[in-house]
Amino acid sequence: MSLVNAELFKVRTTSLWWIMGIILIPLYAASVLINWAQASAGAPPADAGVSDSQSATIEAALEPINVATNLYTSGQYMGILVVLLLSAIIVTSEFFHLTATTTFLVTPRREAVILAKFGAAVIIGVIVWLFTTILNLIVVPLILNSLDVGGSQLGEPAVWRAIGLNALAFVLWAILGVGAGVLIRSQIAATLILGIVYVVGTSVISLIFYLLSEYVAEWINNLQVIIPTTASALMISGTDLPGSPPRWVGAVVLIGYAAVLGFFGTWLTKRRDIS
C-alpha cells in the first residue's frame, strides 16, 4: 500500500495531473452538450435512406432509458482517454525522466512496482469516473426534464447499472494503459499510439471490418467487438441494442486486453536491464 501511495505522490508532485485536469474539463462539457444535442435531435424521417436495421438501432437508442444512460455516462469517451494516457505516462515517465533507476533501487522487486502502478492507475481512473459521474448526476436531471422524456430516470436500475459499468470501463482502461506503457516504453510513442488508436482507430478498424464483411464474409462483422473501444461502448450501453453481441462480451474483451497487457508487461519489466 505504501508503494501505491508513493506512485500517487509521484503523480501529485508533477504538473501532469493539473494539465490533464485542464484538458478534461472542457472535453467533458463538450461531451455533455453533444449527448444533449443527439437526444433532442430525434429520429430521422422514415425516407431518409437508412436501412431497416440501422433505423431500428436508432429507434432503440432514442428510447428514454437509453437516452438517460447515455447522458448519465457523459464524459466517458474523453475521460477514459485522459485516464488511458495518464496510466501509460505513469510508466513511461520513469524511463523518459530516467527515474526508473531510483524507483527500482528503492523497490528491487519490480513486479511490486508495476502492481503499485496498476493500483495507482485504477485509483486515478475511479477518481475521474467519480468526477464525471457526480457532475452528471447534477446536470443530467435538468437536461432530461427539458427533453420531456419522463423525469430524471434515476429510479431505473438500468441507469445505475450503466453508471457502474462506466466505472468498470474506467478501471479496465486504466489497467490497459499501464500495460501498454510497459510495452511501449517510449513516452512519445506510447501517448501517440494510444491516442491515435483510441480516437481514430475505431473508425479505421470499423471501416476495415465493414469492407471485410462486404467482400469476404458477413460474420466477420460480429468480430468488431474485439476492438477495445467498441467493446467498451458495448459494455456500458444501457440495453442490448439490436444487431450487437450481448453486453458481457464487451466486458470480457476489455478484461482480456487488460489482463494480457498487464501480465506481459510485468513479465517484460522483470526481465529487462535498467541502464
Binding site: 501511495n5 508532485t13 528491487p108 541502464s275
Partner: protein, 306 residues
C-alpha cells in the same frame, strides 16, 4: 542489525555479455567495511555495468554480485542496508528536490522527516523546494548522495560522484566519505579522477576491458609498481650530490634541471649525506608513488574504448 557479513561486497566470477561485447569478464573482487575502496578503470571498462549488476538493475550473464551472500533483490529493506548514487540525473525534472526525497521515503517506508535531515547533511536545504531542472550538476550530485543516505545505510556505492563538483564540493565529499568509512561503513566509489582517489581511497580495484587488473591497498599497489618510495631533491650541485649518494647504495635518476629522484633511501638519509658533503639543497621531499602513473602503466594497451 543484520546478519554478520552483509556489509562486505562480494563480486564472484561476474560476467555480462552484451550481444558481441563482454562488458564484464569473469570479474571477482571483495570490498571490505570500514574503508573507502576506489573502483578504477578506463572508459568502457565495465565499472557502471558491474555496479548495476550489484544493485539488481542489470542481470548478470554469469556469476554473482552480493552483499555478504545476499543479492540486493533479496534484501528486505534495501535502502536501510545499501545506498547508491548511480547517475546525477535520475530525478524527475519537474519535481522539487524535497519531493523527490519524500517520494523515496514513502516507497521505502521511511518517515518524511528523513528528507529534510539528509538535505541538511548535503547542504541542499536552501534549494529544497526548487525544481530539479533548475539544479546545477553539483546540486544534482548532492541530491543523489542525499537520496543514498536516506536509509542511513551501512554500505554506500557511488558511480563517479565527483562529476560536476567544484573543488570545495570534492573536498566536502572526500571528508564525508572518509568519515562514513571511519564509522565502519563500506564505501565503494568509482572514479576517473586518480589524484582524488589517491587522497580518498584506502583500497583500489582496478579493471580494464571488463577484467580485474589489480586489487589491494593503495600503498601496496603503488609500491609494487613503482618499486618502493622515492625521494625528490633539487640542488644546484647535482654531480656532487650524486657522488655523495653513491655511498648510500641508492639508485639516483636525474630528471630535469637539478632535480634528482632517489630510490632506496629515506629522505633523512639523503639530507644527511648532502649535509656531510656540503652540498646545497633547494628542495627535499619524500615522494609517494603516483596513482595516475601506475594506473596508466597497468591499463596500457587495454584502455581502448571497445
Amino acid at each position: 542489525m543484520t546478519a554478520p557479513g552483509t556489509d562486505e561486497i562480494v563480486v564472484d566470477r561476474l560476467t555480462k555479455q552484451y550481444k558481441k561485447l563482454r562488458a564484464v569478464d569473469d570479474l571477482s573482487f571483495r570490498v571490505r567495511s570500514g574503508r573507502v575502496t576506489g573502483f578504477l578503470g578506463p572508459n568502457g571498462a565495465g565499472k557502471t555495468t558491474t555496479l548495476r549488476m550489484l544493485l539488481g538493475l542489470v542481470t548478470p550473464t554469469a556469476g554473482t554480485a552480493t552483499f555478504g551472500n545476499q543479492r540486493y533483490v533479496d534484501i528486505k529493506d534495501p535502502l536501510r542496508e545499501v545506498g547508491a548514487v548511480l547517475e546525477a540525473s535520475s530525478a524527475h525534472r519537474g519535481r522539487t528536490g524535497r519531493n523527490h526525497l519524500r517520494m523515496i521515503c514513502k516507497a521505502a517506508g521511511l518517515p518524511d522527516t528523513r528528507a529534510d535531515e539528509v538535505l541538511e547533511l548535503v547542504g541542499l536545504t536552501p534549494a529544497a523546494s526548487r525544481k530539479f531542472k533548475g539544479y546545477s550538476l553539483g546540486m544534482k550530485q548532492r541530491l543523489g548522495i542525499a537520496a543514498a543516505m536516506l536509509g542511513n545505510p551501512r554500505v554506500l556505492i557511488l558511480d563517479e560522484p565527483a562529476n560536476g563538483l567544484d573543488p570545495e564540493g570534492i573536498r566536502w565529499m572526500r571528508d564525508l566519505l572518509k568519515s562514513l568509512a571511519a564509522e565502519g561503513r563500506t564505501v565503494l566509489v568509482s572514479s576517473h579522477l586518480l589524484g582524488e582517489m589517491q587522497l580518498l581511497a584506502d583500497d583500489v580495484v582496478i579493471v580494464a576491458a571488463g577484467k580485474l587488473i589489480r586489487q589491494g591497498p593503495v600503498d601496496e599497489v603503488l609500491g609494487a609498481m613503482s618499486g618502493g618510495a622515492s625521494v625528490r631533491v633539487r640542488t644546484p650541485q647535482a654531480e656532487a650530490l650524486t657522488a655523495a649518494l653513491s655511498e648510500l647504495n641508492a639508485t639516483v635518476t636525474a630528471t630535469q634541471d637539478g632535480v634528482l629522484l632517489v630510490h632506496g633511501a629515506e629522505a633523512a638519509a639523503v639530507g644527511h649525506a648532502a649535509f656531510k658533503a656540503g652540498v646545497e639543497l633547494h628542495e627535499l621531499s619524500a615522494e609517494r608513488g603516483d596513482l595516475e602513473q601506475v594506473f596508466l602503466q597497468l591499463t596500457a594497451g587495454k584502455a581502448g574504448i571497445r
